[in-house]
Amino acid sequence: MALNGALGKQNVNTLNKCKILMVGAGGIGCELLKNLVLTGFTDIQLIDLDTIDVSNLNRQFLFRKEHVGKSKAQVAKESALKFNPNASIVAHHDSIFNSEFGVDFFKSFTVVLNALDNRAARNHVNRMCLAADIPLVESGTAGYLGQVNPIKKGLTECYECQPKPSAQKSFPGCTIRNTPSEPIHCVVWAKHLFNQLFGEEDPDEDVSPDTEDPELTADAGKSALDSEAKKDAIGGIERKSTRAWAVETGYNAEKLFNKLFRDDIKYLLSMETLWKERRPPQALDFHDLPGKDLQSASTRSTDVWTVQECGDHFTRCLTALKEDLAKRGEDGMLVWDKDDHHAMDFVTSVANIRAHIFGIPLKSGFEIKSMAGNIIPAIATTNAIIAGAIVLETLKILFGKIDKCKQVYLNRVPNDRKRLLVPCALDPPNPKCYVCSSKPECVARFNTSKITVKTLQDKILKGHLNMIAPDVEIDDGKGTILISSEEGETEDNEDKYLSDFGVVNNTRLKCDDFLQNYSLVVTVAHVEKLDGELEFEIVGDLSQCHPEEDGDSSAASGAPAAGKAADDEDDLIVMEDLELEDKEMEQSQGESVESRKRPAEDVESPAKSKRKAVAAAGDSEDLIEIS
């Protein structure tokens, strides 16, 4: 047969013996599964936690309208088998983080193919493949851009060898709560409000005015205290959680509106220092909204609602969401979802009302969805191209020609050298990589008397360093256990500060993750205060760290993996800036284009440098979620 001619008969036999693990059955996954089956692979397992959404149907061709809500893995398998009954496909509707998919599971495959859309899962699979010493083909797409990266332990860079730009832009709490200046600040606030009212309450997502704003220093102290008293007078609800209060009022739209958009704003106005150099906000009253008299009916998602329309939608969504919540029972909660109309319209209306109050331009529902949902455009064509390239790289690995493998980058248009597709030689592993080097190490800079054991566990080790269930021991000769992955063993430590355990500058923490078979030594670099309200900062390479230096901006920006990791949900914003490195391409001529002050809503933004990259982003489809 023709296949034998092109691939060689021996090679075709090799394919029959290969066991393939596909992680993700979304945009790339659907294409990939088809390609694998038609290339002659017969033993395939696929895993995806996600279910099918309407917005998948423009490209995930194994799914139809009637499949919406069903398991992606399961339906992908069934659709593929319908056309090619000879293949053996096992579908797991499950999370790749699940401990049943341990190193031994990974070891049972010949090669692992990622078709993921989020960095957490990519990091995890990377570590599992390193631990199992199984080759991995990593891939990603965003709009017209795409990339494929073959990874083999010891031979190539691993997924985490090069620091990635911080996954999500985060904003100082006081900007969100007190002094928003961009639409995105209002969107973030609106999503926090949603969670406060209907979802999981998180103290980091407080929506009330922040009296600990660093701008309110010294002389402002007094007025802050005064305001504190005033606040009690105005709201009379200070000691209650937003949720409890909302429930008490029966989610009354008028009461909620007037608290959030009138009384709280008036209270903010009382913090006069904030408005010395800013335009002060203007409180709104529920019954007197701008645009009241306008006979407008915005029907297109690209229309911008008037404030009055926002008020109407606010009322409507509140009622609907309250009912949704009631259906979840006593302790039920809602999870914000950009594809849920009420949840989305709620955020659109709230964000715009707040934007109006602070003199920030209002945005259409379409745009806000993009910001709030962290939406990456996705089309069938790019996925088709990348899935084709994945299989061709996989074949080289399987035929023992890994030396011929390339990293492949897909451009939007042919580059200056007329190349739409740019192959790059594989880079050797980074000897200082904190994941794949023989003795992984990194440095964490923070104030030891301000970081609790819980923060170390949740935000630093899990959130930033992507461990699943870490064990942490202080390398102090005594083997003090800070964190144990066994439930209950170290719970008492959680709220204590690291300094309480004698952690000081240069203390070494031995961190282990049993599932990932991964050990990391974290050296603590004590600093009093980090720049830009960062809670901590991770530096991959010891030589890049200057522990005693009081965080000045140059040092901070020189750190490769800096970033406040506090907000690790898939909300906060922003396109991950993709690290598509077009290594063949000449340095871009002319000026380097600065990244924008305002969030780029469009991943195609020409303002970005040519060195873009595809990576994860938190688009919830195609994705294996942390469960």
Binding site: N58, R59, Y144, G388, L392, V413, L420
Partner: protein
């Protein structure tokens, strides 16, 4: 997303959400009115169509006279063993139709050559025609028919590890070309009245600290340019040295605290960084000037495309109201600023852009009148483009993109295939390169094109592809080599091509590898979407993919 929307529309908004973010509602409407014809439901053809049906083209028609064979089942996802012997057009149409209920599918089981003879008008009812697996002669005939009526033709082919794509279009006009890198249209060198008035109304010295550090950098540049120009005979900083001096001048403007230490003024940092990119001189790009001289622009008639009428109006605008400039784009980049002044500045630019666009519209209406295509009584009731008239929103989009207008005119297949008009210069260069270099990683993929042409010649001669039968692979090698030599000779070239390549071509035996088809299916569908939406610039005119090396190239042939 608004809840007032009902049924299907709501569904569509959701279904297409991720792509609307690339080409917008208007791009989507164009896509939904497209009528695409696929000739031959090969693995490659089917993959292309799949990638067009998913995003929602209007309709497709498959023309294919073949029956499904075992080989099709092996490389075409949409065909099953029990399809063997049935009409390939019919089976694939049925299965592809399931992918998207909003797309209507149709088929015609007929031989392409016969149809070209009997009813060439069949082909002219489509927006775009995609051809796969066509022998050279059929392809040239089809090309001629479509060229004469200016319907785009895409030729796509997968041969072993080689992918080939050719875009054939007499004239394709693009308003929204979405360029990758461009200068903002700020007019700092020729400030318009609104900008002058706004900037002059601000006094940096008199500002308090807050206002000073929140003045948009655009205003800062304007202010310091005035200072500079006063000192330099009214000239902007031009070269590197002058620009550095100008940056220093801005730096001096940063406020200092009581200890003489400069304050942290982010807007000044931004102004300094923007000097290089923002102080270019405003001018009409040469590409646009050449459009002004294009016969299609100069000789309008009642049949003229809206695009050319607008180009002519644009030309007239630049010669009159525009004072030698294109209409203002009307957008400004993001910058550190207080919202109020940022919005004011935005408004200043937007309002001037509106004025310019109204002026261009005036020229458009006059031109329409002159060529006897008068606009309807009330142009404001017409939102979208209608036969004969040009809507205001169309003119606005046109003005906003006037610096990026692009006209694509590829060479015809006839020109490419005839020995007299073939691009032998280009081909010769690549043949030479192959000879000099060993087949290193940086080899040139153009040689694959030459090999494909040789394979076609082989087909013409032997009515089968080299190596198609396993037992003829070896015997076909010298035959293919002879075809190749003749081909190169016909082009008036002499150099040869390595035997390795020839052997490999014979080993491929015209097989279509699914994964290569899948790859090219993505590339080709993307080009169709560009053609249909009129957004982004299609490839001019040939794309070649080397699946073994993961390299690709584009050439004009």
């Amino acid at each position: 997303m608004a809840t007032q929307r009902k049924g299907g529309t709501l569904d569509k908004n959701n279904k297409y959400d991720r792509q609307l973010r690339l080409w917008g509602d208007h791009g989507q409407s164009s896509l939904e009115t497209a009528r695409v014809c696929l000739i031959n439901a090969s693995a490659t053809g089917t993959e292309i169509l799949k990638n067009l049906i998913l995003p929602g083209i209007g309709s497709f028609t498959i023309l294919d006279g073949n029956k499904v064979q075992g080989e099709d089942v092996g490389n075409n996802f949409f065909l099953m063993a029990d399809s063997i012997g049935k009409s390939r057009a019919q089976v694939t149409t049925e299965l592809l139709s399931e992918l998207n209920e909003d797309v209507s599918g149709d088929f015609l089981e007929e031989n392409v050559d016969d149809l070209l003879q009997k009813n060439p008008a069949f082909f002219t009812s489509f927006t775009t025609v995609i051809a796969t697996q066509l022998p050279e002669r059929t392809l040239l005939n089809l090309g001629k028919v479509l060229w004469s009526v200016n319907i785009p033709l895409l030729v796509c082919r997968c041969y072993g590890f080689i992918g080939y794509l050719r875009v054939v279009i007499k004239e394709h006009t693009i308003i929204e070309s979405h360029p990758d890198n461009f200068h903002e249209d700020l007019r700092l060198d020729y400030p318009f009245k609104g900008l002058k008035d706004f900037c002059d109304s601000l006094n940096l010295e008199a500002m308090d600290k807050k206002d000073h550090s929140h003045t948009p950098w655009l205003v800062l540049l304007y202010k310091y340019l005035q200072v500079w120009e006063e000192q330099h005979g009214g000239k902007m900083p031009k070269n590197f040295k002058e620009k550095n001096a100008f940056k220093e001048l801005i730096r001096q403007g940063v406020r200092k605290n009581e200890h003489g230490v400069p304050e942290d003024e982010e807007n000044f940092d931004e102004a300094i960084k923007s000097v290089n990119s923002s102080l270019h001189s405003t001018a009409i790009p040469s590409e646009i000037k050449s459009l002004f001289e294009d016969p299609a622009c100069l000789k309008l008639n009642s049949e003229s495309k809206n695009f050319w009428i607008m180009v002519r109006a644009l030309k007239e605008f630049t010669e009159t109201d525009g004072n030698g400039f294109l209409p203002l784009r009307g957008s400004i980049p993001d910058m550190t600023a207080d919202s109020e002044r940022y919005i004011q500045l935005q408004t200043v630019y937007r309002e001037q852009a509106e004025l310019d666009s109204v002026a261009v519209a005036g020229h458009v209406h006059a031109l329409l009148h002159n060529i006897g295509r008068d606009e309807p009584l009330n142009p404001h009731t017409v939102r979208d483009s209608q036969e004969g008239s040009i809507s205001d929103s169309e003119i606005k989009t046109f003005c906003r993109n006037s610096a990026f207008l692009t006209v694509l005119r590829t060479r015809s297949l006839e020109e490419e295939y005839s020995a007299e008009t073939a691009n032998t210069e280009e081909l010769g260069r690549h043949v030479m390169m192959e000879e000099e270099e060993d087949a290193s990683d940086e080899g040139d993929d153009t040689v694959l094109y030459i090999l494909l042409r040789a394979v076609d010649r082989f087909f013409t001669e032997y009515t089968r592809y080299p190596g198609y039968f396993n037992n003829t692979v070896e015997a076909d090698i010298p035959k293919l080599k002879a075809c190749l030599t003749k081909l190169i000779h016909d082009w008036g070239l002499t150099a040869g091509i390595k035997d390795d390549y020839i052997q490999e071509m014979c080993r491929y035996g015209a097989s279509e590898l699914h994964t290569v088809s899948a790859f090219m299916g993505g590339v080709a569908a993307q080009e169709v979407i560009k053609l249909v939406t009129g957004q982004f610039v299609p490839i001019n005119n040939t794309f070649i993919y080397n699946g073994q090396r993961q390299t690709s190239t584009t050439i004009k042939l």
